[in-house]
């Protein structure tokens, strides 16, 4: 299933709606970076509200997407991490390798990116 990438002004919004296979994650990553490049997006929001599990593989993928997006000039915020998922990620030992900005929800994510831009 192709995951739609929404464009809002100069921000891209990706809403992950179901558990992804590794192949789908890879594809998504590719699509996102492609799109950033094409439209010159300044911000990227990945909404994972629907994810009830985030394992280290998914975390690493999100991290990789964020890093690459940043390199292309697009700041990334991951939004919608569920409380149980957040705590589980911490217990899993994520902090060792997680450098992505996070926000509670889409609105807060947009707020962060806008604020950045105003600076």
């Amino acid at each position: 299933m192709k995951i739609p990438i929404l464009k809002m002004e100069d921000i891209l919004i990706v809403t992950i709606q179901s558990e992804l296979t590794d192949r789908e994650i890879e594809e998504l990553s590719h699509d996102i970076l492609d799109m950033i490049n094409k439209v010159g997006a300044e911000g990227l929001i990945i909404d994972i509200t629907a994810l009830k599990v985030v394992d280290s593989f998914m975390a690493r993928s999100l991290n990789a997407i964020a890093n690459a997006a940043t390199l292309l000039g697009s700041e990334t915020v991951v939004v919608g991490i569920q409380p149980a998922v957040a705590l589980t990620l911490v217990e899993l030992g994520l902090r060792i390798s997680w450098g992505v900005k996070t926000a509670l929800n889409l609105e807060k994510g947009l707020e962060i990116l806008r604020k950045k831009k105003d600076k």
């Binding site: 599990v53 394992d55 280290s56 593989f57 149980a84 217990e91 899993l92 060792i96 390798s97």
Partner: protein, 132 residues
């Protein structure tokens, strides 16, 4: 008591295994947070099979000890085995460019963790979590 086996070969089987795990954890009576912990641990271990051993299986079952109930996940493969188990149980150790927190993370997320591995023969990881 309930028991289910998931053959693990490809990444999509990882999703299957954790869905079965969540459903069972839920039926046993684990709360949302513990369900997430259990499902995440299953995801890590099942993925290790796919990545490091190619193929294997995950058996998930309800367990009981006295009046305590819980869940047990047994992940077996006949892959290459783990050469240095001690190292594999250290945060950040990976031989495949992963984050290296799958094994240690699963250990932290569950109540009991047990690994047996023979080089050239295969690996078995058993984890358990008890209902509080």
């Amino acid at each position: 008591m309930d028991e289910q086996t998931i053959e693990v070969r490809r990444d999509i089987d990882v999703i299957l295994a954790r869905n079965v795990g969540r459903k069972m954890a839920n039926e046993i009576g684990f709360g949302e947070l513990d369900q997430t912990r259990i499902t995440t641990a299953i995801s890590e271990l099942a993925r290790n099979i796919v990545i490091h051993a190619n193929r294997g299986k995950v058996v998930i079952r309800e367990i009981q000890k006295g009046d305590r109930r819980g869940i047990e996940v047994v992940c077996t493969d006949d892959g290459p085995g783990i050469e240095d188990i001690e190292a594999a149980l250290r945060d950040g150790y990976t031989t495949a460019g992963g984050l290296g927190i799958g094994m240690t993370g699963a250990k932290r997320l569950m109540d009991e963790f047990h690994v047996e591995s023979v080089v050239g023969v295969g690996t078995t990881v058993i984890v358990k979590k008890w209902l509080r």
